[in-house]
Symmetry: C2
Amino acid sequence: MTKVRQIKLGAMLEGVGTDHGRWQHPDLPGDASINIDWYIENAKLAEAAKFDFVFIVDSPYITKDSAPHFLNRLEPLTLLSAVAVTTKTIGLAGTLTTSYWEPYNVARQFGSLDLISRGRAGWNVVTTGLEGAARNYSRDEHFEHGVRYARAEEFVSVVKGLWDSYEDDAFLRDKVSGQFLDAGKQHALNHNGTFFSVAGPLALSRSKQGQPVIFQAGDSSEGRDLGAKIADATFTISESLESSKGYYRDLKSRAAALGRDPDQIVVLPGIDPIVADTDEAAQEILKARQGAFDLDKALVQVGRAFNYHDFKKYPIDGPFPDTSNLTLNSYKGHAERIIKVAKDENLTLRQVAERFGVWKATFVGSPETVADSLELWFRERAADGFILRVSEPDTFRIFREKVVPILQARGLFRNEYEHDTLRGHLGLSIPENRYADQTHISDVAAQ
Amino acid sequence: MTKVRQIKLGAMLEGVGTDHGRWQHPDLPGDASINIDWYIENAKLAEAAKFDFVFIVDSPYITKDSAPHFLNRLEPLTLLSAVAVTTKTIGLAGTLTTSYWEPYNVARQFGSLDLISRGRAGWNVVTTGLEGAARNYSRDEHFEHGVRYARAEEFVSVVKGLWDSYEDDAFLRDKVSGQFLDAGKQHALNHNGTFFSVAGPLALSRSKQGQPVIFQAGDSSEGRDLGAKIADATFTISESLESSKGYYRDLKSRAAALGRDPDQIVVLPGIDPIVADTDEAAQEILKARQGAFDLDKALVQVGRAFNYHDFKKYPIDGPFPDTSNLTLNSYKGHAERIIKVAKDENLTLRQVAERFGVWKATFVGSPETVADSLELWFRERAADGFILRVSEPDTFRIFREKVVPILQARGLFRNEYEHDTLRGHLGLSIPENRYADQTHISDVAAQ
């Protein structure tokens, strides 16, 4: 029986939100980003709506000008462990940077979350775009972009190696014979690489999904290469149907070229829709939000991709400034796209701010209209699913109560969970323990 | 009103235990150390018995010969976050090493746990005794003992600085005016020290207890100095009433010499009692455990203090070997004590193994007898309270059901919680935010 392809859905829980005004919604607690009850409540709502997972993004650097949610938010691992024991089935994915952690600690914490949640953990691998992060970690300078990605690749390979420290049948726990561990099934990694030397073993057995799911976000060429190599799922931007189709094709061919099954990488654009009862009502909301356009904040937002470069100092109606003297070591893929579009379309700085510095709504309309768009993107293979930004409560409620049932009625989304692990939800196979074959062979030989 | 001094109690949750046989108890799940339900259940039992906190120890290094609990156990931060949302009042303390982490990440995770638990977090600061840990963190050699302690002191000072990043009234969250943050109450740390340079600020506000409680364990002179400087509570060994009284006096005088209030450091020996219905029954259990004495395992246990030095190679009935060529860079305080006692009492290697290589029972007897001992240690100021090892279920049950009520009847232990933070339980004051005074002064000046 061939499994029908269905849309995957993640809920990106963003507390008070990353727009400067979203936190002012009357029904949103002002402390949502540090209030575990808010996260648990929304994770339960997402689970009741049969979402595949909740998703927590993160960054280890803030300034006084950071968006409300960034200023003061719970840390992903602790947050998700709390959500793990207050939910039953939904996946739990969190962001953590490979630039400022030790692989042994990361393997330990995500492995522990995977056991606590009984196979529902996911790690969103990032390399950190903001150069200021370096100064929180005793470094004068952020790692250069290429180094970050090379380091990330080795980092993930070490973590995955540590996760295999015990074969699945290593622990006998035979109270009669007194044998707790079959010591031959504990394996040291003994990794010696460019960036890391890690002996192992890790003091953790594997969960029922084998290993946490690896998410990856990063749109530069290096980012796509890393995704093609290591990712089980990618979190991407959703600028347009065509650009997303291009990304989808590109990423899956890179994976296929590496000998991977392209169906084993799930492509998930982030979406931030406006859904209202009617198309007209949704367009009204869009107009109101666009009316609140703030040029200064838009320029800061554009500058963020260039490591908070100050674009306010240039003539606003002049051409987009020459950025060739800036090192693109921050959100490089995004910065490169801004440069390319500005050049191709001959945009002024103001036009760039309007295009890239403001909140984008790719999906605006009635529940039916938004469901149509999601279906189109899914069928056209611009996406295998979507990660919905969840902050102010109205959008999430209408999405769950109106959009999801339409997708279900069309057979595009599950009515009930069929699995209880994140890999199960996403249709990902369980990675075999790298040492399992050896043991099998030695078992046979010993007979 | 002067507060009556009462005993503090912690429950060290050790899953399948660190003795090689304890996991075989019929009522203990064989997977207890990786089973979050076991931890939650026991945390709830400790909370019902009005314990001050649960306590999770940890180490980032194992071998095939590690004790059952060490081989495969949940990581403290993820574990405690799960316990935080399934309990209401009990404190939550976890161990994390300053030798192989970044202060920014530690501040973030313990600060997050403190918000998730609403002021119940504690961090047990250790420097890691086992040299093999270095090879899990891309280092050839473990940090030298003195460096470890100097690094720990600076590490904790950075973390505490980051925890003060926001004054307690920094977030206005005024939905009408649109002011979310009073930016003047966000403070960068800009630390530049010997081991770390950390700019900050941290993206977390403080909990209702101000900052997580700092626990510290370490019995060497450097360890005691560190405790006197940074600790709110110390986790100590309980070899004898006299040695514990000596430690208690010494630690509190070191703290007083630094200008600290000695009552603001809570001294908590770890205990692993045998409690049975009668003294005779308890002595029977003790004899049975001692009868199971295993010389090889005892020598491994002695060797652990000397970085797993192999003591099996020496004549067992000869004098305790000369260890002057061994660098005491592992559990230095413990190793030094072994050397001193062996010399003072002219012990053979076998006698050292019997004394230091086996499970010790300082408190053995009926509930009344054990309560008498606890009271004696408390009144004689060998302890302000105790941390009880919890693994096989019988001891914990008898302790809760029989020993605790005796202490309560004597007015030595609370009948009900009077606080809902860990600092509250332990009688520790809330640390004032280091920037609060400045603001206050500038507020006054601005009037």
